[in-house]
Symmetry: C2
Subunit: 293 residues, 2 copies
Amino acid sequence: MKPIIIVAAIALAAAAPAKKLLTPSDIVAAAPPGAWRTISPDDLLVMDLKNGGRVVIQLAPEFAPVHVANIKALARGSYWAGASIYRVQDNYVAQWGLNESDKPWPAGVTPKPPAEYTRPLKGLRIKPLGFPDPYAPGAGFVDGWPVAYSSRGGWADLTHCYGYVGVGRDLSPDTGTGGELYATIGHAPRHLDRNIAVVGRVIDGIDQLSSLPRGTEALGFYKDKAQNVPIADIRLASAMAPADRPSYEYMDTMSPTFAAYLRVRANRKDDFYIRPAGGVDLCNVQVPVRRKG
Amino acid sequence: MKPIIIVAAIALAAAAPAKKLLTPSDIVAAAPPGAWRTISPDDLLVMDLKNGGRVVIQLAPEFAPVHVANIKALARGSYWAGASIYRVQDNYVAQWGLNESDKPWPAGVTPKPPAEYTRPLKGLRIKPLGFPDPYAPGAGFVDGWPVAYSSRGGWADLTHCYGYVGVGRDLSPDTGTGGELYATIGHAPRHLDRNIAVVGRVIDGIDQLSSLPRGTEALGFYKDKAQNVPIADIRLASAMAPADRPSYEYMDTMSPTFAAYLRVRANRKDDFYIRPAGGVDLCNVQVPVRRKG
């Protein structure tokens, strides 16, 4: 067996009883309870597929409040009844909703939300990445989220990392209501940052999207609608019976544990590594999120 | 329909007859014949799966000559008869070969190749990326390949971008002969750069790997060997009958066309985009490669 990377702890040989060099997973496993923050069930969108798969999305109301309020209203109003995953483009996105539907919006939906593609930097506490970012003057973490920002411009944006969720739109910026969502399933398409509303991230079940057959039409749309992957239900965890609700927590990005995790992400020195990188890009840091209980 | 990105040319409305803003695809489509370089059939590894899928890999002998010579000897010696894809880890790699086999190496294989994780910078003509790279002092392109480099250190390495192929190894650096290969299927795991021999890239059929079910064992190994995806044949294009050989070409990264492509990759101004990024990371540039004839 030739695993190409060891993510779990490795027992050191007896001949080398010296200091154990930690992996990122070691640091996450040893994190104290105080390093974790519970995600509100009102910010968890639970998508169940008819094939039995489940995809759980953490919403980010602090970055796109009107779009996220729309998504919650769509879930509460059962807008997605009959929806499906209808587009899977390799190294790019999987997209779902009621494509080309004229279904009316449920109560509480703002049909033309403002272009929440950035938010004011003011008031945000940022843990800096500490390495250059080719897409923005600054990069770091705010309350568990990866962000790019400009101190001079006064803006911050939630970035398109792997598994992040955005609102599909047409060419005009006021055309994305929230009914059509996509998740990124390849190398982070950061050129979309500041051009689309990013509303959250898949925290469980991304493989239910990333392993789907790729669509063969332009942009990865499925050619035959029979290829569409039917969605059984999309609802907020807060609308589920308490006993059925999944619960998750994310690592506090201002915690000393996260600082240690970030250092090791940029400098892998565990047994497999010969030359630590001495740097890391924003989307390879992957803020730890785990199921509770 | 709400496509989230337009990759093809968009016809401008009659009301806006001004200068057409090019997409990266427009530039590739209009590239003159002189901007392309044919890939030698001796550097094309053709992997046919028993399910009918085909994966074509361009080998990079200039970066890992002994490892690539091994791979060619393994193909010529039919080493991979009975091989399969046995590991698929989400946002990471798909890996194939004869896992845990004691099969003897065919003629011409160096069982313990040198650690070709970097190569001398001297003699390389580099087209610089022009934006900071968090993983190395420099980043750019050499003869169609993305590279990281250090002028001070005098080294360059082929980087782990999406679809790039490396040689699986155990903890010790002299354990990767070339029999077990992986391709990256998620956000570029650049922390592996300079720690593994990168031997090429998938130039056709990456979706045959990226859309496979993820393995549920540690590191994405398939739990049940019945889940392994059998490989029908792995051979060099040069060993195929001329009429059956696929042929490909890549864009010359020193050409003016590539320079224009790189500029637009960093500054999308076509109709969908509101705010061009003003930068791009190495792995989002994606050197154009296309089938010939």
